[in-house]
Symmetry: C2
Subunit: 451 residues, 2 copies
């Protein structure tokens, strides 16, 4: 999140760029989001310094420690951390999220990603980067192990019988003895079962492998969609995959990113957008675009066209982001400078400049069309863009009956209207119980997003 | 820490055993310790469920997330987390501690350990456990990489020049390109240099390998010492090793553990000690002792002697704890029951039952003799044992001029009177600057200890 989701935000006078490494900045954002009854605060992540430190506010907090700190100064808002399955161990990750879920009394979520950047590999001893499909195979087994570890304690394992000297009931804490292709893990976990049973499982990659992973495991999907048509096609595809895995359509929330550039008039909003575009650093935009496209654009004229792009199959990083930009180029045939401007707000996520009513209209349109169960709100400038959304857009959504006027639940699963996974005690199955959530209301779900 | 450092504490009515997984318990402890102007709160750790869940309060928070949460609700107290070098990656660990140091504005410390328990290996894919010397060789290089990563950003790298579009100064954030025997790490870290330069480096193993590691790297050493003679011999040995590595004697603080069983009279203190002994669960004590001695004691008569012990060289786990128990057996020839009672308070750390004046006397005696620069206070029962120490022992130490009446510094290094390591900008050397600490006062350093 840092200074805002527009890549030039930090140069704008309303931004607080030093906040990238100041806990007070994030405490302020979390409290503002909680004041707006957001479901969650979401932190993106990478395991390397991604982006050029000269030109943008890169570098900052590690998500799990930051969200743990925020858990102590918030009451209701969900806390979603991105953690990769590529260079970590399942025991460590299961443990950290179980700990965060206990610290926050059931507000933790895990955005499960694979690490797609060669710079990340080089920080973990690898000369070349693990291949896309292989990363997802590892992620599948990783998640299997993590779930087993969360379930290695029964929900009511702790009996705390001082007189008899019994801390847990006999047999209620058991090894998992996992022996798989990628992992051998004995267990049990050294943390009691999380308050939510399992922290909420989120997924954010929209490639074919990513969609399949989401259809098998995820309960919420963050996705970048530029048009209503694309978003509808994505939602249809994902729901059909979900059905093929025997999961009901409401087992998963689809949350496209939305970067709202707000003004009290249309003209004011457009002026802010232009102000931000004018603050963009072309070298930075070119380097970012080169990374997204797997194509070195250095030295090309900004007002000329893009060169021919490689085939999607040759991309081993973020395949869905590549596809999004390639589609944009096919559709609009823009200059390089125009692409950089388009991607400035939210790096490929949808940017809408408008009045609070106009932003509420587009949210309502996508929601009613079935393209979104909610939105991942990515304010262009922080903290002002978040406060503006909470103060001016949220009340409109509440008036229209599209969003809650207060929290009706205490856990992240509760906010999303998702059930708590049953533990081992109830028959060793991983079926869902009836939804424990109450007051989840229509699933318009503004959340912050990291970066 | 959990319910207290006596292994039967959780059965005592003053304990709060459910606190093991309740953030409010730890917030209360941290605030009490801060009220007493303690240097730090220290959390021990293991990467498996160590100890039998049936008989004691095992399982709880992961230390980094718990301390991150406490950073948001405390102002001055240092936050020391135990993290192993055996099953983690240096990039991940460097990043987490840098993040905690920023979150706490310079209050983070890292207790650097190697994982010595076969149960830990089995959670990370290993059939057999890495050998003791090999673990320390890995730890050496691990620490080298972590320091390089912390130094990969210059202290003043962030220039935040909005007008020129400059976030960091050219060349102030650089790769480390480490290629060693155990690790290849490109860097730079994705967190700016920590406020303390490096979070405080702590070490807690007292074996020969552990002492050598401490002499090379550590700035504080936690150690279990049963007698003044042993503690003096340990301190002399460690200081001579320090000198051999060209480090001054005051580069390192020696902090023996102390479990104070307090009473308003000697008789009251002894009665509390006996009450706790009576609450011990023999099966639990026997299992713990079997682990410490690498010898299965199951089924042996509690009122008989210990069997012959293996040679120290055959121990691959915690060698120094083995040696401490073996020495105790040589010295006192106790029954198994007596050993279990002796180890109940603090698992091998020194237990002293007495009045506040008596406890202050033994602290002063060890400090003046040069056996301790401070103490790691391990209250037998929490939260009461900590509050009693803060309310009744600390004021005596303050009156005697042995301990601060208020914090005189804001960072953990400041509390310990240790210098801030210079960054790369100042000549690429890792020499210490003049001590930045003020008001550190005599180095009697009560701290909480984990478990």
């Amino acid at each position: 999140m840092n200074a805002g989701h527009h890549d030039a935000a930090w140069r704008h006078p309303d931004a607080r760029p030093g906040g990238v490494i100041d806990p007070a900045h994030f405490i302020d954002l979390a409290r503002t989001a909680e004041r707006g009854h957001f479901d969650s605060l979401f932190l993106a992540d990478g395991l390397a310094l991604l982006g050029d430190a000269r030109w943008n506010t890169v570098g900052g907090f590690e998500p799990l420690t930051l969200l743990a700190a925020l858990s102590a100064v918030t009451e209701r808002i969900g806390l979603i951390a991105t953690v990769s399955t590529t260079f970590h161990e399942p025991y460590t990750v299961a443990r950290a999220f179980a700990s965060l879920d206990h610290l926050s009394a059931g507000r933790a979520g895990w955005n499960i990603v694979t690490s797609g950047n060669p710079a990340e590999s080089r920080n973990f001893g690898y000369a070349s980067h693990p291949e896309h499909a292989r990363r997802y195979a590892r992620a599948d087994e990783f998640l299997e192990v993590v779930r087993k570890l969360w379930d290695s304690w029964e929900d009511d394992a702790i009996v705390l019988d001082r007189r008899a000297g019994r801390w847990t009931a006999e047999g209620s804490v058991r090894p998992i003895d996992h022996h798989g292709e990628h992992f051998r893990v004995a267990g049990p976990l050294n943390v009691p079962r999380p308050p939510q049973g399992h922290p909420l499982l989120v997924q954010a990659g929209s490639s074919r492998d990513g969609r399949e992973f989401a259809a098998r495991h995820a309960e919420a999907v963050f996705t970048a969609q530029q048009t209503l048509g694309d978003a509808l096609a994505f939602a249809r595809d994902l729901r059909s995959r979900l059905a093929r895995h025997g999961r009901p359509a409401d087992a998963l929330r689809i949350l496209p990113g939305l970067c709202p550039i707000l003004g009290s008039t249309e003209a004011e909003a457009r002026a802010l957008e232009e102000e931000l575009t004018a603050l963009q650093i072309p070298e930075y935009g070119l380097a970012q675009l080169s990374g997204m496209l797997g194509t070195d654009l250095t030295g090309l004229p900004l007002d000329g066209p893009l060169p021919p792009l490689p085939d999607e199959r040759r991309i081993n990083g973020n395949k869905s982001r590549f596809e999004l930009v390639a589609e944009l180029v096919r559709r609009e045939n823009p200059t390089i400078r125009e692409v950089i401007a388009r991607l400035g707000g939210g790096r490929g996520h949808r940017v809408v400049a408008g009045t609070p009513e106009g932003i509420a209209d587009t949210i309502e349109e996508w929601f009613r069309a079935g393209a979104a169960d909610g939105f991942n709100i990515m304010p262009p400038i922080l903290p002002t863009g978040l406060a503006d959304f909470v103060d001016h857009v949220v009340p409109i959504l509440v008036r229209r009956g599209l969003f809650r006027a207060d929290y009706g639940s205490r856990t992240l699963r509760g906010h999303y209207g998702l059930p708590r996974p049953a533990g081992r005690r109830h028959g060793d199955r991983r079926e869902d119980q009836a939804a424990a959530a109450s007051g989840a209301g229509p699933a318009v779900l503004p959340t912050g997003v990291g970066g």
